[in-house]
């Protein structure tokens, strides 16, 4: 049996999380191979369907990295994203899929180390959960 290589899609906002990504890059901290990063103007724009589609298309995990609650440029973007992530967790549970495959993270602009750490955390978590397809 071939080794499981998780595919993870990460949405990150163009403000705090994006700045954290730049700091991370300047510290030469990369994200694991298999994590595909998608920048969005604000995590509040991410719809439930945006979070489900990656699972439909073959992703094993999804996460959202946005601003901290008190520093969101658009006031409540990450709070909206958290609610949608919670909705997708409920949907996954109903489908007997581990809800931990999706998560929302809040980080401030200077948290370059944390940005890279989140990617590694999710990779480790999904690696342990294994592939979705049961067959």
């Amino acid at each position: 049996m071939s080794e499981f290589k998780p595919r993870i899609l990460a949405f990150y906002c163009a403000n705090c999380a994006s700045s954290a990504a730049n700091v991370s890059e300047s510290m030469s901290l990369g994200v694991p191979a298999g994590v595909k990063m998608v920048q969005v103007p604000c995590t509040g724009r991410i719809e439930t369907l945006h979070l489900l589609k990656p699972f439909e298309e073959g992703a094993d995990g999804v996460y959202v990295a946005g601003c901290q609650e008190d520093s969101c440029r658009y006031m409540s973007g990450i709070l909206k994203a958290e609610k949608r992530v919670a909705q997708v967790k409920r949907i996954l549970e109903e489908l007997d899929i581990e809800p931990g495959r999706i998560e929302a993270f809040k980080l401030s602009a200077g948290k370059g180390f944390r940005f890279a750490e989140i990617a590694s955390e999710m990779m480790k978590r999904v690696q342990e959960l294994g592939p979705i397809s049961g067959g």
């Binding site: 489900l52 109903e94 899929i97 397809s133 049961g134």
Partner: protein
């Protein structure tokens, strides 16, 4: 609007587990407004079904379609070339939708994707509340524009009852005692004396108790 909520996905997959080609059918009417059965929700449910297919290794084909309304025959006709391509249809309109589809396409296997709850409105974003019981004889003008039929737990025409406390209903603290609100409003309007007048028992023959209802307007009948 008619307010509905999505059935648990677990219940839905149990309904359609024996089918390979499934159409998720939305409605642009009430259920779009209450965010349960419009094009967006069609997309979410269809995606969830495809993920279920991936999880269980099923070769599912899930189609998506949203009609202008599922409660008018002319829009149901639009499904003529579509329904036959699927083994099952999940209608996420109110309870009217799956029946109109079933009646028009007798061989189609049609399943309800939502539970129809009540007639009401949005009191805040994401929060809906019942306002009308469809009793067939509207009486809100007697009660300051508020309906004790739909909003009083006992549908009292002469209230409040002894279960009213601090403006809340005895069945649950979260339920407003509409009779408390009616009395306050009528007092503010200087019409409290109108509530002293006894309201005779309501005739329920115009409500659902009189059996299934229909309505004919001759000027519109072709």
């Amino acid at each position: 609007m008619i307010v509905a909520e999505q059935k648990p996905i677990r219940e839905l997959v149990e309904m359609v587990k024996d089918f390979q080609k499934i159409l998720v059918l939305g409605c642009k009417g009430c259920v779009t407004v209450c965010n349960v059965g419009g094009a967006k929700e069609v997309g979410v449910l269809a995606s969830a079904l495809r993920i279920w297919g991936r999880k269980t290794g099923r070769d599912l084909q899930v189609g998506e379609h949203t009609l202008e309304r599922q409660c008018d025959p002319e829009y149901i006709e639009e499904l003529g070339g579509i329904v036959g391509e699927y083994d099952a249809v999940i209608s996420i309109a109110c309870g009217v939708g799956p029946q109109f589809v079933s009646e028009r396409y007798p061989t189609a296997r049609v399943f309800p994707g939502v539970n129809t709850k009540f007639m009401g409105g949005a009191v805040a974003h994401g929060i809906w509340s019942e306002r009308c019981a469809g009793c067939g004889q509207c009486v809100v003008h007697y009660f300051g524009g508020l309906c004790p039929i739909a909003r009083c737990s006992k549908s009292l025409m002469n209230g409040p009852c002894g279960g009213s406390a601090d403006g809340r209903c005895e069945i649950h603290k979260e339920v407003e005692c509409i009779w408390d609100t009616i009395v306050r409003k009528m007092t503010e309007q200087g019409r409290l004396n109108e509530l002293i007048e006894f309201k005779p028992p309501k005739s329920w023959t115009t409500a659902r108790d009189g059996g299934p209802r229909s309505m004919i307007r001759e000027e519109l009948v072709k």
